[in-house]
């Protein structure tokens, strides 16, 4: 079927209840998708930074425990600190996976929003991606 971008104040976005008929509703919807796009770009950066922090903190934790154990010259009590580090690593990673699910879902939502072929919504997604990238990506190189 023929589909093309149109300027319209009417759209149904993603869910049945998200039914827009007015300019005010459209403006609000554009702001929402804009925010979603900013969030998407931020999550991408946030995930990378979290992974870096987790790797650094857990390796620091393990090396600290290692030096403690060699200083104390004890071998009986080294199971608890190691399992603590492992648990912390597991929680970090589980949290990362949840964030990944959110990222995947938001990415698909943005794709479906653009698929509405409403030009205002499309502008909102593009502008939000630009703003999100602009604000978030410099944080990647910051330690």
């Amino acid at each position: 079927s023929k589909m093309h971008f149109i300027f319209s104040n009417e759209v149904v976005l993603l869910f049945d209840f998200w039914n827009v008929h007015s300019p005010a509703g459209m403006a609000l919807s554009v702001l929402v998708v804009l925010f979603l796009a900013v969030l998407y770009e931020s999550i991408k950066v946030g995930k990378a930074k979290l992974l870096h922090q987790a790797v650094v903190s857990v390796s620091v934790l393990s090396s600290q425990q290692l030096t403690e154990e060699t200083d104390q010259d004890s071998s009986a009590s080294d199971s608890a600190p190691v399992s603590r580090a492992r648990l912390r690593w597991f929680l970090c990673h589980f949290g990362q996976s949840l964030i990944h699910v959110v990222q995947v879902v938001i990415g698909y939502f943005m794709m479906l929003a653009v698929m509405s072929y409403n030009t205002w919504i499309f502008f909102g997604v593009i502008l939000g991606s630009a703003v999100g990238y602009y604000l978030a990506y410099p944080l990647l190189s910051m330690v």
């Binding site: 079927s1 023929k2 589909m3 149109i6 319209s8 009417e10 759209v11 149904v12 993603l14 869910f15 049945d16 998200w18 039914n19 992974l51 987790a54 790797v55 857990v58 390796s59 090396s63 690593w89 990673h93 589980f94 990362q96 996976s97 949840l98 990944h100 699910v101 995947v104 879902v105 698909y108 794709m111 479906l112 698929m115 509405s116 072929y117 409403n118």
Partner: protein, 191 residues
């Protein structure tokens, strides 16, 4: 069921396509999955719905009609999304492994006062016709195709299938990234 109005496989009459596809002529039918878009004859849903009757999945002939078939489709989509995440991570580690080979080229270069200096060029990467690069290319194509399939599955707006995509992606990321993270930890922090 009349499939002649399925998007992309037919050319609809002009007067029925000029109206925006999201115009709701029947607001009360929004609860029914087969007419979610509300457009005349348009079979594609434009909002999320939960249902397992008459759900067409990617290919003609692949139609879900029962709860059992939907369960099977859920599992298949879940595994596909998991495989996609695994493929991404496998490609990353393959790339890192094949780039371990570093080439050093040293060449003599005239320096000040007539001395000869050795200039060393370091090249990291793959050759075009090497097996790792060809393998990466094949895997890339597979990855692109699967990513488009997952997009098209999500585009059915079927709630069960979308949840399968998201859950499969999360599980795949969790399982395969776990392994990757351990490898990264060992290789990047030399104790």
């Amino acid at each position: 069921v009349d499939h002649s109005h399925h998007t992309g496989t037919s050319h609809m009459a002009d007067n029925s396509t000029t109206a925006p596809p999201h115009h709701h002529h029947h607001p009360t039918t929004s609860a029914h999955h087969s007419h979610g878009g509300g457009m005349d004859g348009m079979m594609m849903s434009m909002t999320f719905y939960f249902g397992f009757k008459n759900v067409e999945l990617l290919f003609s002939g692949l139609v879900i009609n029962t709860a059992g078939e939907m369960a099977g489709a859920f599992v298949a989509v879940f595994l596909l999304a998991m495989f996609y995440e695994g493929l991404k991570i496998a490609r990353e580690s393959l790339l890192r492994k094949s780039q371990v080979s570093i080439r050093y080229n040293s060449m003599p270069v005239p320096g000040p006062n007539g001395t000869i200096l050795m200039e060393t060029h370091k090249t990291v990467g793959q050759q075009m016709l090497s097996f790792p690069h060809l393998l990466q290319t094949v895997l890339h194509i597979i990855q692109v195709v699967i990513s488009y399939f997952l997009m098209l599955i999500f585009m059915t707006y079927n709630g069960y299938l979308c949840i399968a995509v998201a859950a499969g992606a999360g599980t795949g990321y969790f399982l395969f990234s776990w392994k990757k993270a351990v490898v990264v930890d060992i290789t990047e922090h030399c104790h």
